[in-house]
Symmetry: C2
Subunit: 296 residues, 2 copies
């Protein structure tokens, strides 16, 4: 069994991005800009936003945090997005999810210019993803998983990938990416979800198993084929009084036992998670290059 080390790969991606950002600055005088919008004071969201801004700054991007109060109106959020749409220094915009209940999140997302939609939540970019157009963006978590597979030279063509979960953020785009007509994809893909009968049997067919169902230790060793590649997108909190925080993180996969059968497996934490910000910044750089019609 080999561990897929998301910390290591994301660090390599960030190093590469840093060099490209420097090159953009030196050869074209351009600095990619990322604007992160947060509405309200949800502690977890605050941590995510802080990390995104910090990493962007570390690799030399211009990064701005825009905070609105928890009781901000829909109009205020839309006005801020419009302002950022029109700001030439800003190439990528993301609005941290979830916003407070009075905000219509889909309307906010559909207001972001597709060319600045680095989360790939706008219907135009989701559509380009399904069609196979290369000039849109790819959502961060599935793109992170594709990058991990490529980094470890894991063959995908003709392999059977089973994806558990059909969320718009992970499961659906993951299935689309894996089944794409591309040398880095070309999987046969089975999409499983809450209404699937006999998930264990289907899992056992998987050469590549991607689990994004949000239930701790859902995938057990008996559900995994010997030699399978197992990607765990789960981030579940389990009560643990031995920890200062009172909980520990657990994936959707029973790592202890599944890792004995898998050829490759992602740990939680340290697997898929660290890739997300690296892919967000990859998209921000792409948005900047497209906006200025330059390549790095």
């Amino acid at each position: 069994m080999a561990l897929i080390d998301g910390k290591h790969v994301s660090a390599a991606v960030l190093e590469d991005l840093k060099a490209k950002v420097a090159s953009l600055r030196d050869t074209h005088g351009i600095t990619p800009g990322l604007a992160v919008v947060i509405v309200g004071d949800d502690p977890a969201s605050q941590v995510y936003v802080r990390n995104k801004v910090k990493r962007a700054t570390e690799i030399g991007m211009l990064s701005e945090k825009h905070e609105l109060p928890a009781d901000a109106s829909q109009e205020e959020v839309l006005a801020l997005v419009e302002k950022l749409n029109n700001d030439k220094r800003v190439h990528g915009i993301l609005v941290q999810s979830p916003p407070p209940p009075q905000i219509n999140e889909r309307a906010v997302i559909e207001t972001i210019l597709p060319s600045k939609d680095v989360d790939c939540f706008h219907p135009v970019n989701v559509g380009k993803l399904l069609i196979g157009d290369e000039d849109g963006f790819v959502p961060c978590t599935p793109q992170g998983i594709m990058t991990l597979l490529a980094h470890y030279h894991i063959e995908t063509a003709g392999k059977h990938a089973v994806v558990i979960g059909r969320s718009n953020i992970v499961g659906k785009p993951m299935g689309v990416l894996l089944s794409r007509k591309s040398t880095r994809a070309n999987c046969t893909v089975t999409m499983c979800h809450s209404r699937t009968r006999d998930i264990p049997s289907l899992c056992r067919l998987a050469d590549i198993l991607v689990v994004a169902i949000g239930r701790a230790h859902f995938v057990t060793a008996d559900m995994v084929k010997e030699g399978a590649v197992v990607i765990d997108v789960g981030m579940n909190r389990i009560e643990d009084s031995s920890k200062k925080s009172g909980y520990r993180l657990a994936g959707d996969v029973d790592f202890e036992h599944v890792s004995q059968k898998a050829s490759y497996i992602t740990p939680v934490p340290g697997g898929v998670g660290p890739m997300t910000i690296a892919m967000l910044l990859t998209n921000a750089l792409k948005a900047c290059c497209l906006a200025h019609n330059v390549a790095v």
Copy 2:
């Protein structure tokens, strides 16, 4: 074995549409308008376009055919689409595929207003399809298949659907629709394609098998589970000197033998084919209702 009779179901859909169009006219004074654009004189395309215009007219819609010569420029096609975008009498626009080689088809499609894109080829509508937004359109052939399944009260929830083919027009949207979180869907879906290994074994898992691979009689009886529902999207021409035209139509499924194992099966012709225009006109009516903010 029961035959899925697309001629019968499409006739019922068209009758229903005709009544709704009459009701729209009587209660709101509105007539849905469909504009069909054809560039060049490909004989097959001419037939398709003629049938679309004819059926639209028969159910009381306003239907216009717009012809451009085979050597029309990209600018001429885009100008026509823009004119139709701005024409309030026109609620749905389609540009018959394929256009001549000098035309960039994607650029033409992306010029059609998403609210008039009744083929559901624009990225915005494709994205809404994947996201699950109800205010976009659904592409005609997969929508026709979902309508056939519903008409025959074929249970889909929890069933394993296997889709062969990953085209943007049929395979991909078919997989998306079948796996949707909806009482009329909720299938576990496996997407197979040219790079899939051992298609026969995967086919044998299918409770519902949708074949859109474009190879005559590709699916044979040994690839089908007893009692499966078999949907054949193929329309292949086979040389046949006994026919006046010199050919006959054959599906992707070996109907003669597969029909002995299937619980339901679509014939070719007369299965999926006749549904396409009925769904196009369903979308045109929806576009009209959305444009005028009325329901029928």
